[in-house]
Symmetry: D2
Subunit: 372 residues, 4 copies
């Protein structure tokens, strides 16, 4: 394939992220195939028309089904609200397109399974938008752990906290509605935590959990009253991993002061690794090595020794940003398209994340251990 | 009472701590009554004899029952291994002494209840060694929360992690034995976390939990083989508080790199407070106030504005140490003796901590929610 | 102007940075005019040919004079070694091109002055590559100070430390040669510190300074011996600002562990602001406001409240990276081209930075106060 | 000597500190000789009388000359305002007493020299109150550097910042008066920085400096007007050490938010050590060792591996406080009395600190390099 025609659905936060990522994967990382930004799709059409030239797309489109039908387009990015993911992804796959879809995958496990089946049937590349797993700091944590730098892994402490729903006076939105958003904090951000845990800990065996809707109603934006918040603002799980380790996951979208706090401690028999996305260019490492008087947590700043950092900048400590992670993600998707081999967090792997977050919800609702 | 005669049992880590605390409560904090260090008790007698003059005790003693019988002694400090707490405390109370006993209270809830009954019968002052709750930083967190600085309390994240049992090659000790130590990490350090949570969150309603013995056997010190570790190295609980908040508690004595990590985040509807004993002179506060562009976590350094810091030092940021917390504790015990009113963490209140840590262990063993 | 034709000289660290910045200024920030990447220039030609398609340039070029003569090109980026800056910039200006040149401006003040004269004569837009001044965190510091958030400014403590020349065994390079690099640490990174100080403190009145060549010789890469290091590895200055404040600047390229440490404290009569590029998405603010018991340094995470952060990402705390600062820089240069008004750090303003770093060197050589 | 009779002059901040330190040196550190707190001296007598029993002194005294004449007293602590140090110390030495005197030593170098002469003539132990040099973290930094952990020492960056004179509205006090306080920030806190630098860097060869009176007048407490501030609020020096290294010292008593910020970076050819008293139980160490991908600053928490920490607490990371440093200081003074050998920072050594701070002031006044 010489160039890859791309169609992007959605022009919000993640829409722009995908547009920039598609455009930069080649220049920054030398990714192949080269990308041609064919069409940007949103409704109303005016919105897509306003942004298409800025973002470098050849044309705008309002009808996502027409986009999918366009033979000039080989791959589709889906960055629409959660409830549309499954329908769009399946249709795109059936139309023979590669699909890069934002997370959470779908509203229900059944939908997610249908997406996996469609991917299998189509034989096309798929990927879910778990950008944080592409962080060189996290990748280095995985490498350290797999090389035995902290010995046998025994405990995991994971967290994901933001404050975008912390304000009691914030207006009600689709995020609060089961039929639009599905799960709440679990789907939005809990899924990211699960994606990180998979890299450092592997699969979960079983878990117990609790969850909480902190603000049971929210004011309607039009001042006409209040509406119910139908999904959780916070959840906590205690998990057993298949490798014998235990761990916890704390999740909240109502944690004042937390902006992008997403990370973990992995405790091992010989040391500890700590990562947090809020200081995304740092990694903490403790090893029980050398004299006691000089032991301590080491703050490692990422640099060219942590690939592919060096492709962005040859100087260590100069820092990647959030959008850079998405560029790495796009490049890995392009490599998957090119090679025909699945990339990390394709639909099949992403289904596992759905299973975990729904198991947390189920355990909380039924107040019992759930085995995966 | 002009002066209070003190007898101290135990000359280890906590023995020295109590000795220093008794001696400094008056000079630092002006505590009354004044203290007379009558006798230091340990076996063999040589050990007590070697330390008594250094620590300022008038005499040494090997027989704790003789110590308790000494009419010159009004109050007893118990800093012996856990299995001896109940017997000694009850005997001392029955002999009409005030009792300051190290935590955990006892091996079982039944023993702890017997201690409470003995205290009630004796009508003497009692206190358990929960020194961390005396930290001015933690006390200020309680004040902030009670004054509404972070709004309605919605989440608690607590942790207590040390690495004194992190080394797989560490020799087996009494700490690993149920009949000597009772619970493992839960009793040793989990109890401290519960004591802190009581101040900022109030009582727990119910919980679910898991626990883990990371190293199932340890080598015997004499090289003759290995012995079983009978209690847990780590535990995790998801709790529901009576105030409607939820929370988590993570506990480990096998967390490499953690030396005195004991603290919490309290999430509120208008802000967050964070405390950690490893930086014991600092408090983090986030409030949803003022322009968004200037919001952030504030690192408050303790000073004279956080009593009784100023009694130690009139200059802010100059820092208290671990032993200083014990001095505050001794002064509060003296005040309780003087006034006849119970102090924080007397036996009656301390029993609650035992209930929580045993509930965590029970939930983990039975894999079900336990209501307190 | 509909589109702006760009020619870029140099394919190293900064060459790639400029290429990405030119390409992203429109998509991310909606910058006008739109950019057309006409030609990439380097020697040997093969190097330019290899990278031109990856970075999106229409063609490759080996002769920078031919590049400058190309009528399809309106603006030139100069990212070559320091000794070439003046010659290339002047030639480009004389050919009627806008010029974006990396720092340090030139080897000597005389060269820098010639560049300013050429810019004035040409009437074209110019800009020097002081990317760090574009950081929204630094811009917010400037805003806070100018609004009086910390009262009257009284002290400045600035630092810039890296370790790219910290290793005694590192091979000798052109950076060590006066005739190639001019000043050492002062030119490379000291210039960045001066650029930041201008924003928060304004002009310098006079200074005293010292400097140091830590490693007086370095091994030649071919193993044939050692060569002299002709410029400084570290410098320190004590400055008096025109606004009456005093301050210090510490500069080192031999500071082990420092990767991109560049920042300052500004002390005011009512508070303090602290910024450091190594945590480039954070700002520290202390204000003498509210109860003493709650005062502390606030860690502000950048977000949409700190423009133009929101153009990169609408979620706070998600972080910009080093390359993003260059995108902002490119957009400001485009705006300057569009409007005809000078942008921050055009050649005229950049000359001031040269004056300061040469004054530091002069003060150190002559061991006396130098007035600017 | 069986016991040492102690007389203490002054009951302020440092008076209490000395009282506690004398009382705890034996119990905590096993120091010999044992201490007998004979008399506490202050005016009016009522103040001394109120505190003597609380602090454990046998009697109170208002006349310091009578105190010095008391044959039951072997050692004198001087914690009075700066202008009284020389007279009291010399008189005490002439009376055959050992003298522990707070810093700064005296108002002028001439006075300090007279103190040294008196000490030499008396043949008694002397010590100045440089408590921060007793911090186990700082002592470990010295050990690391002397063992070559960071290679050849090349740069020193020192700072000491507090905010006790940061408020423009703070009332005028004796601290602002040359004839009462001598130097300002340099004497109060700059002397501490110099004391730390001596341990890690050795002697200074020459320096250039500037200083600044930020608030030129202050309101009189009685509302009757304003009075001049006669000494400096801030000072900055660039120093050359005898070992060939360079460095900077920044000093301010008007640095909002800084409470006990006192520390340094020592840059070496193979690493860096950082210490700051505001986190007094931590030490940062970077070493150019092992794989680049795992290098970073290590945060070492002090513990029993950093003597004499273990005498205070056998558990690492549990933290010493400010007063604990004074206990170590007292124990070292007792050891000096016992052995007849000088301790660190006796009068002879302390004179050097005076020379440095007065050289900084002189360089600033005369705007020229001053050689020590």
């Amino acid at each position: 394939m010489q160039t890859l025609g791309v169609g992007l659905i959605g022009t919000g936060f993640m829409g722009k992220c995908h547009a920039l990522a598609w455009a930069n994967a080649g220049p920054v990382l030398g990714a192949h195939p080269r990308v041609r930004l064919v069409a940007l799709c949103d409704t109303p059409l005016e919105r897509a028309e306003a942004l298409a030239p800025q973002w470098g797309f050849e044309r705008a489109e309002a009808d996502w089904r027409a986009l999918i039908a366009d033979p000039a387009i080989d791959a589709i990015s889906i960055t629409t609200p959660n409830r549309l993911h499954a329908e769009m992804a399946i249709a795109a796959l059936q139309a023979g397109k590669h699909v890069w879809c934002e997370k959470p995958m779908a509203l229900t496990e059944a939908e997610a399974e249908a997406m996996v089946a469609a991917a299998k049937a189509a034989g096309k590349a798929t990927m879910l938008g778990y950008n944080y797993i592409r962080n060189p700091a996290h990748q280095h944590a995985i490498k350290l752990i797999s090389e035995g730098a902290i010995g046998r892994v025994i405990q995991f402490r994971g967290w994901v906290e933001e404050d975008y729903q912390a304000d009691p006076d914030l207006a009600w939105s689709w995020r609060a509605k089961l039929a639009e958003a599905g799960l709440g904090a679990l789907g939005d951000i809990g899924s990211h935590l699960v994606s990180l845990s998979m890299g450092v800990m592997g699969p979960i065996e079983s878990l117990i959990a609790d969850m909480q809707t902190v603000y049971e109603t929210r004011p309607l934006a039009d001042g006409s009253g209040r509406a119910a918040v139908e999904n959780e603002d916070a959840a906590t799980a205690v998990v057993r991993f298949a490798n014998g380790a235990q761990g916890s996951m704390v999740i909240s979208r109502a944690a004042w002061g937390r902006k992008s706090r997403l990370g973990y401690e992995v405790h091992g028999s010989e040391g500890m690794v700590i990562f947090d996305q809020e200081r995304m260019n740092e990694l903490q490492l403790y090893q029980n090595r050398g004299p006691k008087a000089e032991q301590g947590f080491r703050t490692i700043l990422t640099g060219p020794a942590h690939p592919p950092y060096g492709e962005f900048c040859p100087a260590p400590g100069h820092q990647l940003g959030f959008n850079d992670l998405k560029v790495i993600e796009a490049a890995e998707f392009l490599a998957s398209i090119q090679s025909g081999s699945p990339c990390k967090m394709d639909f099949a792997e992403g289904l596992y994340v759905e299973r975990v977050i729904h198991a947390i919800a189920q355990s909380a609702r039924e107040d019992r251990r759930v085995t995966l």
